[in-house]
């Protein structure tokens, strides 16, 4: 009997797979979502700050949120392993699952780099502007999480829909980015909008 056969038939895995209780599969997947907010939500917020949003927020105290991100990572990993165990063959036979794992690995590496590059710089007194390398990594954090999220969502669909959804997400992201840039520039160009900014 192989390891996978044994795993499939442990009473805990059977419970996750077959129980109708909301505390089985649904609650495990809910924890997977909570931890998504801790890891992805918080790191995106810090990445946005690095890219110049809310630039008055001091960087050193923001560093404390990295601990919550790593807690999020471990909750994600544990809940993810449980979800994987509930249908281990289904996931391991699906090549897209490996794309998800790879993009998460890149995302975690990006968050780690962001802390190294930006928060080590911030700790040095007299170095206010964030380096372009730091900003590049911050943008990388946002892009990588968007990829990981999209791949994670389309995991359950067939190959054709996966490609279509990836394309639609890419197009929409580019449209929103361009519209955001143009919109922000237009707002800044309006004297009425610029006035309160200079008054402060």
């Amino acid at each position: 009997m192989s390891f996978l056969d044994w795993l499939d038939n442990t009473s805990f895995v059977i419970w996750i797979r077959e129980s109708t209780s909301v505390f089985a599969y649904p609650t495990i997947i809910a924890f997977h979502t909570f931890s998504l907010v801790l890891l992805v939500g918080l790191s995106c917020a810090v990445a946005l700050r690095t890219l110049g949003v809310a630039r008055d927020v001091p960087l050193p105290p923001l560093d404390r949120f990295f601990r919550l991100m790593w807690i999020g990572f471990w909750i994600s990993a544990v809940s993810g392993v449980l979800l994987l165990a509930s249908d281990v063959r289904g996931f391991l036979d699906n090549p897209v699952f490996y794309v998800k794992l790879a993009s998460i690995a890149v995302g975690v590496f990006m968050v780690w780099m962001l802390r190294r590059l930006v928060f080590r710089e911030a700790a040095e007194p007299g170095r206010r502007p964030i380096s372009s390398a730091g900003k590049t990594v911050a943008a990388g954090v946002l892009v990588t999480w968007l990829v990981a999220l999209t791949v994670g969502r389309v995991l359950a669909y067939d190959r054709f829909i996966q490609w279509q959804t990836a394309g639609a997400t890419l197009v929409l992201a580019i449209v929103m980015l361009v519209a955001g840039f143009v919109g922000a520039r237009a707002l800044r160009a309006t004297p009425a909008a610029a006035a309160p900014r200079t008054a402060r």
Partner: protein, 172 residues
């Protein structure tokens, strides 16, 4: 009431759109998850600061991040409305039937309303103005802390019940 909801909860144009394009439903799912990361990540960060976490951050500076949380809310609201009004594209059922039968959807909606009222309380009680004066290393007033704690609890609840919706009872 039933006739009213049956009429307004089903948007045939949304249903047709979701049916016509195979990528539309999963795209809405992606938007819902991007939105929840932004909304709850950023609002949660603000709430945690009010509760005393990462006290070195002056509260007024963190406020400038909140528009991105609002953007997340808009993404969630748009995609969420698409799921409800266009549910027929996914399973053949009327959204009204799901609304009256799925307790998790009902709980989620109740928690969203409570989170909205909590936000209203934040502005109406003066807590919002009071935290403008909370600088680096300073504690937020007790009322602001209570509201921040409620906000965290309510948004976690919204996520939990939202996640359970597919396992709820859809039909009679």
């Amino acid at each position: 009431m039933e006739a009213f909801l049956r009429y307004w909860m089903l948007w045939p144009s949304v249903e047709r759109f979701l049916k016509a394009y195979a990528w539309a439903w999963p795209l809405m799912e992606v938007l819902h998850f991007v939105g929840l990361c932004l909304l709850i990540g950023i609002v949660g960060m603000f709430d945690l600061r009010l509760l005393g976490f990462a006290k070195g951050i002056p509260v007024p500076t963190l406020r400038k991040l909140l528009p991105w949380g609002v953007f997340g809310f808009v993404l969630c609201a748009v995609s969420g409305l698409a799921f409800v009004t266009g549910i027929g594209a996914n399973i053949s059922i009327h959204p009204y039937v799901v609304l009256v039968n799925d307790v998790w959807l009902q709980w989620k909606l109740v928690f969203i309303v409570l989170a909205g009222l909590n936000l209203l309380a934040f502005h109406m009680t003066g807590a919002s103005d009071a935290v403008e004066a909370v600088g680096a290393g300073q504690d937020a007033p007790r009322l602001a802390k209570v509201i921040a704690g409620a906000s965290l609890f309510l948004w976690l609840g919204v996520m939990y019940f939202g996640r359970l919706i597919p396992w709820g009872q859809f039909g009679e």
